[in-house]
């Protein structure tokens, strides 16, 4: 209850006045800024606009996946099917559009539909078959992996060699007023989700279910529907990221989704959301995504080899967890 020991950040009066959620969001943003400053020390070009822009673009992909992950984590769930839903969507985009612009719209809708569908199946399994979320989404990840590999014949199919339709590529990489279009898309997503979680009945219900499922049910909230919708959103965002990655990189590959499982969960947690649900703000997740990618970039700037990056990644997440865990007990 107290937490009045000196020297602790949270004992600063200005920070004390903030709710824990907001304080963590602030920490996450502060960490991102700090990393950029460290980067500038390591390599002078680090905080030049072009460098910052490219870091933010990479961060946006983490941010998209983490948005979906945040939705399900807010109700105490988890989505482990993210990697291969993303990958399937990326491959489906090129195989269904064959790189042609006039097929791009249908292909994009098809991919998003795929994401929604996998989310729907996840949600239904969790709600009606009472399969634990970990198992259901883990199984779904395998199912999507197998389907993707099988149907694309191990990514050797004829259509697999197509690349992204030009419109999709442009929508992600073109510059608008000197800023990559992708960042506008991210900004749009951030505004939309912030609004949805903060100012709509839907957002209110999400937090309610995450805090106490039983009490929400007894207050008339349709817990099952809410749960299913959130898993669908997670699938949607994973699929969307697949599209964005193909637009960014030009063509998909096998395994492009794999890093995003760890990164999406880490971004959500660094952003201050509780894995048990109901707590945390979406802006924190945005900050978490930037922090995570900035960290990688700093390590790259320091010429840290792959293995070192992986280790530092893990250590940083653990340290942040310990820091937040400590705050939790104080408040």
């Amino acid at each position: 209850m107290s937490g009045q020991r000196n020297g602790r950040l949270s004992s600063l009066p200005a920070l004390r006045r903030l709710t824990p959620d907001r304080r963590r969001t602030l920490y996450a943003f502060a960490a991102a800024v700090l990393l950029f400053l460290i980067g500038a020390l390591v390599r002078p070009g680090f905080i030049e606009p072009s460098s910052v822009k490219s870091i933010l673009v990479v961060a946006s992909f983490v941010g998209f996946v983490a948005t979906g992950q945040a939705f399900v984590i807010l109700i105490g769930g988890i989505d482990l099917s993210v990697p291969w839903v993303l990958n399937a969507s990326a491959i489906l985009l090129v195989t269904s559009s064959l790189g042609q612009d006039d097929r791009a719209a249908e292909a994009v809708l098809l991919c998003l539909g795929l994401g929604l569908l996998t989310g729907l199946v996840n949600g239904l399994g969790i709600v009606f078959l009472s399969v634990p979320a970990v198992v259901m989404t883990l199984g779904m990840n395998g199912i999507m992996q197998g389907l993707t590999l099988g149907l694309s014949k191990g990514f050797t199919c004829h259509a697999c060699s197509s690349s992204s339709p030009a419109v999709v590529r442009d929508a992600i990489t073109n510059n608008l007023l000197g800023v990559p279009a992708d960042l506008y898309v991210w900004l749009g997503v951030v505004l939309l989700v912030t609004f949805a979680l903060g100012f709509t009945t839907f957002g209110r219900r999400v937090y309610a279910v995450g805090n106490n499922e039983r009490a929400s049910y007894l207050a008339g909230v349709n817990v099952r529907l809410t749960t299913v919708v959130l898993y669908m959103l997670s699938g949607l965002f994973a699929a969307f990221t697949g599209i964005a990655l193909v637009g960014y990189g030009g063509s998909p590959s096998l395994g492009i989704g794999d890093p995003y499982l760890f990164q999406s969960i880490a971004a959500v947690v660094i952003g201050g959301m509780s894995i048990l649900g109901g707590r945390g703000s979406y802006l924190g997740v945005v900050a978490g995504s930037i922090t995570l990618v900035a960290l990688v970039s700093v390590l790259q700037a320091m010429n840290m080899p792959d293995y070192g990056r992986s280790i530092v990644y893990g250590v940083v997440v653990l340290l942040i967890l310990l820091l937040y865990g400590r705050e939790e007990r104080e408040v």
Binding site: P132, V134, G142, M144, G146, I265, A266, D306, G308, G314
Partner: protein, 331 residues
């Protein structure tokens, strides 16, 4: 003064209790038998003979890493935890074995012990962070997974190295199904483990932490212990992986995080702790391994492997939930 007696004696047989209390594990055993029969039928119709020594040997050898990692995962599950770092620990173990182990029996024994101790140390880190740091297991082990993967790549940057032939012959002899002996030993180990104070304590903590504490069980020590044993099993699984593949690869273990969880679930151990058995998990691991051969002989492209594994996992867990539901209904 004579005291009143309570009720009439009602006793069911030991066997009836055993079956009622082990429905999920027995279900896993049934699924294993069904899979084996299915496999034999498919095999003999396509090759005109029954599977023989060669098939038995290769299937068993390929299953060993999964069997061991699944048993480790089960012990962590029983303590109401989850270990996502299994794959990373297998990577470390696999890399160490392929680079450090010499051809002499002394070196093999020494390095096997060292590697098992490394596994225990990794588990200790997980356990301390979970039990003393009071952090969520899923987050802790996700972070240590990243760390372990980094360490493994440091040990063995490029796939390669060589496991001594003698070691392969001992653990996973390519000519004879001697690895079955290890499965037998594992079963014996489990039967004994279940009868130790530590084994009982893990079940008790998984059942209800507060009640376990009230009964005088040292909760922190037990939870840490579960992760330590889990880490040792992951290291052992990595040794078997190195032995069957005869060379090292610092990423070869990655997929086992998910498959070990799948095998434990398939074997009927719940993620909510305190219920289940490693025997079920062994059956689950064998099912998942044999499934691959089944797919082969059913003429299904191997690329669909993950699809069927995922589907099997979800269906088996849902089936187990349904069976449990109807059994309760019947009462």
């Amino acid at each position: 003064m004579s005291r009143p007696k309570l009720g009439q004696s009602v006793r069911r047989s030991r066997w009836s209790h055993f079956t009622a209390q082990n429905v999920p594990s027995l279900l896993a055993l049934l699924i294993l038998i069904a899979t084996l029969v299915f496999y034999a039928v498919l095999f003999s119709t396509s090759l005109g003979r029954l599977p023989g020594n060669f098939e038995l040997t290769s299937t068993t050898n390929n299953a060993m890493p999964l069997v061991f990692s699944a048993v480790g995962q089960t012990i962590v599950f029983l303590s109401r935890g989850i270990d996502l770092s299994v794959g990373g620990m297998m990577d470390i173990s696999n890399s160490l074995a392929a680079t450090r182990m010499g051809g002499s029996p002394g070196s093999m024994v020494l390095w096997s012990i060292i590697i098992l101790l490394v596994g225990a140390a990794g588990g200790l880190i997980n356990g301390l962070l979970v039990a003393l740091g009071r952090l969520q297991p899923i987050l802790v082990t996700l972070a240590t997974l990243s760390i372990f993967q980094g360490v493994a790549i440091k040990v063995l940057p490029q796939p390669g190295g060589k496991v001594p032939t003698g070691y392969t012959d001992f653990l996973t002899n390519p000519g004879h199904p001697w690895a079955l002996i290890f499965i037998g030993l594992l079963v014996l180990f489990w039967l004994a483990f279940r009868r130790t104070a530590f084994g009982v304590a893990i079940y008790a903590v998984g059942n209800d932490e507060e009640s376990a504490r009230a009964n005088g069980i040292r909760v922190v020590r037990t939870r840490v212990g579960a992760y330590v044993v889990g880490g040792m099993f992951a290291a052992a699984a990595g040794l078997f992986l190195a032995a069957t593949t005869t060379s090292g690869d610092a990423t070869a273990g990655d997929s086992y995080t998910l498959t070990s969880i799948a095998a434990a679930f398939l074997g009927g151990t719940t993620i909510f702790g305190g219920r289940g058995s490693a025997l079920g998990s062994i059956a689950g691991a064998l099912v998942l391994s044999i499934l691959i051969s089944v797919l082969f002989f059913a003429g299904i492209n191997q690329l669909y492997e993950d699809f069927y594994q995922g589907l099997f996992l979800v269906l088996a867990v849902a089936l187990s939930a349904l069976v449990g539901y109807f059994l309760r209904r019947k009462k």
